[in-house]
């Protein structure tokens, strides 16, 4: 990776000053994290990302389960869901700005709104795909209707919920950073913009590098938790 970066630099398609060397990027990243505002920016972004995602997880899972178990509700709301689904959530940032103004509240709302959809749809699919044989087995073993939902349907759909949550976590990060870039809300997005506008090219690349590491770590965290808590999920069995 470092080699290809240096190769692009050496080939000179792009002005050298715009592409600092890999070593200087990593060095700047370390310095900015240690002493500069980069660490604060990362923490600020996580500080809005985590609660927004948490709200979406609860609401999305609840709505997904309800839609899967109550066919009438699903039928009645289907046009609404199909209508909202193709709209990219970021297009609603201007609308949210109109209604909620600039601030943490609006950012949290956008993060939660954007990440609710993958969670909702994969939870719904997870509940719908529960093997009817599982439910039948529960009936034969005299497990009541409510207990069947808690002891059979919920564990059976957990892996798809987790997959939805992992997808949503990446979307939430994108939305958080976009909102920060657009509105100057403290966080990685506004940090990168400020560094760019101050002409600190190496600093900008360093903060992008750190953002990538953050995205990678977030995904790795979810994968690790999924493997530890759901060894039975078909995705994890081979490992």
């Amino acid at each position: 990776m470092i080699a290809s970066w240096e190769a692009v630099r050496a080939l000179g398609f792009v002005d050298r000053r715009d592409l600092p060397s890999a070593a200087s990027i990593v060095e700047t990243a370390a310095v900015d994290l240690w002493s500069g505002g980069l660490a604060h920016a990362v923490l600020a972004t996580i500080g809005s990302w985590a609660p927004g995602l948490a709200v979406a997880a609860v609401a999305g899972a609840g709505a997904g389960i309800a839609l899967a178990l109550l066919p009438r509700l699903e039928i009645a709301t289907r046009p609404l869901l199909e209508f909202v689904r193709p709209i990219p959530s970021v297009a609603l940032i201007p609308v949210a700005l109109l209604v909620l103004g600039v601030g943490l509240q609006m950012q949290l709302f956008m993060i939660a709104f954007a990440s609710i959809w993958p969670i909702l749809f994969s939870t719904k699919a997870g509940v719908e795909d529960v093997d009817p044989r599982f439910v039948e087995t529960g009936r034969v073993l005299h497990v009541g209707r409510a207990a069947r939902i808690f002891r059979i349907v919920l564990p059976a759909m957990l892996p798809s919920f987790a997959t939805g949550l992992r997808t949503a976590s990446a979307i939430a990060l994108v939305v958080a950073i976009t909102v920060e870039m657009l509105t100057g809300q403290p966080g990685i997005g506004s940090y990168i913009e400020n560094v760019r506008l101050s002409g600190l090219v190496t600093g900008m690349w360093a903060s992008i590098f750190v953002t990538g590491v953050l995205g990678y770590l977030v995904n790795a965290l979810f994968v690790t938790v999924e493997r530890a808590t759901m060894p039975w999920s078909t995705e994890n069995r081979d490992r």
């Binding site: 715009d18 990219p88 970021v90 201007p94 990446a170 976009t178 992008i208 990538g212 990678y216 995904n219």
Partner: protein, 263 residues
């Protein structure tokens, strides 16, 4: 209940939900006039303006052009790299860490960098769209190529196909089902990146149109723009599904066969 009754009742319910929501919106807009609650007819008016006249050329078409170019690059690069990486395992340890790192960079973060490198140009927006949407295609193509039945490759070799021919005539078609599902994910990401790039750095396109109207408090136009983006997304998804259905007609029949064979 008759078959017809079963079919119509949900439709009636769905129509009722839509009408009720529209009515509720309109009622609220008229009773409690607010900037963010414009009446329906103004939104509809704004919506139709986008689809013809000046706005078509200053908002919708520039967006579609960038989206098309970025998405096409993503598909091309993703398929070529994916098929090669999936078939040549020896490359894996070299390339995989890079891809694993790049794919988890929130694609927005790349935007300021490409602004510096390309300036506020269409190239920059196309690059951002392509960067955001290439990874789902690339990963899907790699996966698909890796799962090609080795027997098919042996057959190809036995018939005397060269390596390049094998990639194009065996590995690529066999990975197409996987590639198409990656493309569906990529399309929605491309749409998101299109909007973001136009929100942050553009002087035309749908994203810019929405943001400008928000700053002018022309709320009806903001909603109209959002609806247009939704329409574009829906239309492109349907088009992609239609292409997929044609291209992959063999796949469903084949899968049906192998699955009944197993059961």
């Amino acid at each position: 209940m008759t078959a017809r009754g079963r079919y119509i009742t949900p439709l009636a319910w769905q129509a009722a939900t839509i009408l009720a929501l529209i009515a509720l919106w309109q009622w609220a807009a008229l009773t409690y006039p607010a900037v963010y609650l414009p009446p329906i007819e103004r939104i509809a008016q704004g919506y139709f303006q986008i689809w013809h006249g000046d706005l078509l050329h200053s908002a919708l078409l520039p967006s579609l052009r960038r989206l098309g170019a970025g998405f096409a690059i993503a598909i091309l690069v993703g398929c070529v790299m994916g098929v090669v990486l999936g078939s040549l395992r020896s490359l894996d340890p070299w390339v995989r860490p890079t891809i694993e790192y790049l794919r988890y960079i929130p694609a927005v973060a790349i935007l300021p960098a490409s602004l510096i490198v390309f300036g506020a140009t269409d190239q920059m927006r196309i690059f951002v769209i392509a960067f955001g949407s290439v990874f789902p295609v690339l990963i899907a193509a790699t996966d698909g190529a890796r799962r090609v039945d080795p027997i098919l490759l042996d057959v190809a070799r036995a018939v005397g196909l060269s390596t390049a021919e094998r990639l194009v005539r065996v590995v690529l078609p066999a990975s197409l089902p996987s590639i198409f599902s990656g493309m569906r994910v990529a399309l929605s990401i491309a749409l998101v990146m299109m909007v973001i790039s136009e929100l942050i750095a553009a002087d035309d396109g749908l994203g810019f149109y929405i943001l400008r109207n928000q700053r002018l408090f022309q709320t009806a136009n903001v909603y109209a723009g959002v609806l247009t983006i939704g329409t574009v997304g829906l239309g492109l998804t349907l088009a992609l599904l239609a292409v997929e259905k044609r291209v992959l007609s063999w796949h469903r029949g084949w899968r049906g066969l192998t699955e009944t064979g197993r059961g």
